[in-house]
């Protein structure tokens, strides 16, 4: 081999090497928060909101001096709403020495990536709502919103007591979020003595809802429960109005979110939902959050923004209670921790974690009136019946 060739090949190999070796970990002067967010793909809307919520909290905390004197460093990566990518990014976050991982939001992704954070014993806050997330025996996963198993009984209670419905048609999106919700609500409704007369599956990204709405109409149930992601909810609501559906439409946070109201316009009026988090809650801290978020990002946050924001403050509260930057100790502290909004305004509402990582909090029944969410009822936390 000539020296010229040797030099050329060594150069090529060196370049490839340089590009494939990730950067070394930085000094320990900051607390690393690794953010795994859906910034593209089906979860882009949710992921972007969650990221912004976390970001705003990080900025506020840093401006106030950080946690235990150290500033927070927020690393952002895009999972592309792909569980495989999320898993890889979780591995990378662990490699980079993250203190805590935030995200992914989508249940399908967190189910996979949390195996990595569990293995590395890194606290992992997620916005996912699927019930299965906290049933895996993972002591390092923590929710920032209700599990479907907590939320759905509340919905069922409203449908039975508030609407006095005897039969319900269930429309859901054919992904892990939708199917998990469908399973939970079906069980909750049956427990409440209500019969589920129609089980209508729709696709993620579905455009034409004439067939599902037709099925809902012909099922002739007393009420319709819709559990799809935001854009699809908007399309469903429009089709329901178009076909003149006149029975109560009930849903969860994704049915009456700000985005849905914007996209569905008039068709959203009258929809009722059980909402774990809403920027329109009659709560001065929440309204302040709404205003700050709008000022920073120029649009109104959805529930995912609140999840991200409150999650960071929950972590802060736990670190300060534990007194040291020890992941295992902080995770232990979080289990069974109750945080009051009076002491930690950042959590916006009192919340408590149980030993599985589930959280308990007030929630709301909202109705969309004239393009805005109006809180009809405030429901107390489950275990404070």
């Amino acid at each position: 081999m000539t020296t010229k060739t040797l030099r050329r090949t060594l150069l090529a190999a060196a370049t490839l090497l340089a590009l494939t070796v990730p950067t070394l970990a930085q000094a320990q002067a900051t607390i690393k928060i690794a953010g795994l967010y859906e910034l593209s793909g089906a979860g882009a809307s949710a992921g972007t909101n969650f990221k912004n919520g976390v970001d705003m909290a990080v900025k506020e905390i840093n401006a106030a001096g950080g946690i235990l004197g150290k500033k927070l460093e927020h690393g952002i990566s895009d999972t592309q709403t792909n569980p495989g990518v999320a898993k890889g990014l979780a591995t990378k976050a662990v490699d980079d020495g993250a203190f805590a991982v935030f995200g992914p939001v989508f249940s399908g992704s967190i189910m996979v990536s949390m195996a990595e954070t569990k293995r590395a014993e890194v606290p992992n806050f997620t916005g996912g709502e699927a019930a299965a997330i906290t049933k895996q025996g993972n002591p390092y996963v923590f929710r920032t919103s209700f599990t479907q198993d907590t939320a759905m009984p509340k919905v069922a209670r409203y449908i039975a007591g508030g609407l006095k419905a005897k039969t319900v048609a269930v429309m859901y999106v054919n992904n892990d979020f939708g199917k998990g919700g469908r399973d939970s609500i079906t069980k909750a409704l049956t427990d409440a003595g209500i019969k589920v007369v129609a089980d209508i599956s729709t696709d993620s990204g579905q455009i034409d809802f004439s067939a599902p709405v037709l099925k809902a109409k012909s099922a002739n149930a007393d009420a319709l429960f819709v559990y799809t992601n935001e854009e699809e909810s908007a399309r469903a609501l429009r089709e329901l109005r178009k076909q003149g559906y006149n029975k109560p439409i009930v849903g969860e946070t994704t049915l009456t979110g700000q985005k849905v109201i914007e996209l569905a316009g008039d068709a959203a009026n009258g929809a009722v939902a059980h909402v774990g988090l809403t920027v329109d809650a009659p709560n001065p801290l929440m309204l302040k959050f709404k205003a700050n978020f709008y000022q920073n990002y120029k649009y109104i946050s959805d529930h995912n923004g609140i999840k991200g924001y409150t999650g960071v403050y929950a972590l802060k509260a736990a670190i300060e209670k534990a007194g040291k930057l020890d992941r295992v100790a902080v995770a232990k502290t979080l289990h069974g921790l109750s945080i009051s909004a009076a002491k930690v305004p950042g959590v916006l509402m009192d919340l408590s974690f149980d030993n599985n990582g589930d959280l308990d909090r007030e929630s709301f029944i909202v109705e969309v009136k004239a393009g805005k969410q109006e809180v009809k009822e405030v429901l107390p936390p489950l275990n404070r019946k």
Binding site: S40, A44, S201, E231, G244, L263, D266
Partner: protein, 291 residues
């Protein structure tokens, strides 16, 4: 029965939109052998362009006209000169890959540069509902179908009855003979690209109120456009309309009567059957293989 009619009618409306996207696709293939895997994005980009112009205060018709002009320039001329012309010499693969890359770039450029969220889009039609014999139809459904039909038939008429149109057809059928006859082939091909751009703008105007302007709206639309184009006939413009309607109606009927989870399968099965047994499409002409 009214349910069935309801589904069929909704399917017609959606199908009209698929037909518009499919038509442009078919024309490009006929005139220049370009397979445009970014066809869906060609509808997405004008949709966002119109939103952009509207944000600057332009009313919808003005925004539409401005977008048409920009589209002819960018999606027509620039696309042809920049990508199609240099690559067509090398066979089909490079252009397929280049348009795939273009689709990825367009989708993610909009996502990063504008927004990852869905945006509402003003509808051309007022929000009126008609109830005919138990079937609910919106003014938008009727209007979309009418306009799509008009555009398809109009394009067909243009291609068949005007001199320019026939010159374009000649170029599509046999480029060498067309050159010999004195037809300005590059210009004719450019007209095809321009028409495709205009049809895409029209499709954007009609479809975005329902689809909602989102960076990935082009993906599924592009897929359906392929199926529609193939089913109807890759070398026949009316085939695009037939194909689009078949896809739209079948989806709805399948969702209601067979299984919502497999609704895409019906269009697929028809598509595969057409490919395997009548590859030129339901209305297409058989194409001889050159040795």
């Amino acid at each position: 029965m009214t349910d069935f009619l309801q589904l069929v009618f909704s399917g017609f409306a959606t199908g009209g939109i698929y037909a518009l996207a499919a038509l442009g696709f078919t024309l490009l293939w006929q005139a220049s052998g370009t397979i445009n895997f970014a066809q869906g994005e060609f509808v997405m980009l004008p949709a966002f362009a119109m939103l952009g112009f509207a944000a600057f205060g332009a009313p919808l018709p003005v925004a539409f006209l401005l977008t048409c002009v920009v589209a002819v320039g960018v999606l027509g001329w620039a696309f042809k000169r920049g990508i199609a012309d240099p690559l067509l010499r090398f066979g089909l693969m490079p252009i397929v890959v280049a348009t795939i890359g273009l689709a990825i770039a367009a989708r993610n450029g909009v996502r990063a540069g504008y927004s990852a969220e869905a945006h509402s889009f003003p509808s051309l039609f007022a929000d009126k509902l008609f109830n005919i014999a138990g079937v609910t139809i919106t003014l938008a459904d009727l209007g979309t179908l009418a306009i799509a039909l008009a555009l398809v038939l109009g394009t067909q008429a243009f291609l068949g009855k005007t001199v320019t149109g026939r010159a374009m057809q000649a170029v599509a059928q046999n480029t060498e003979s067309a050159t010999v006859l004195g037809i300005n082939v590059p210009r004719m091909v450019f007209y095809t690209f321009a028409i495709n751009a205009l049809l895409a703008c029209a499709a954007a105007l009609l479809v975005t109120p329902t689809y909602l302007a989102k960076f990935d709206m082009g993906e599924s639309l592009g897929n359906k456009a392929f199926f529609a184009a193939i089913i109807g006939g890759f070398n026949n413009s009316r085939g695009a309309l037939l194909g689009g309607v078949i896809v739209g109606v079948c989806e709805n009927l399948a969702a209601a009567y067979i299984s919502p989870a497999y609704k895409d399968a019906v269009a697929l099965v028809i598509f595969m059957a057409v490919i395997l047994f009548k590859p030129q499409g339901l209305l297409g002409r058989k194409v001889e293989r050159k040795v």
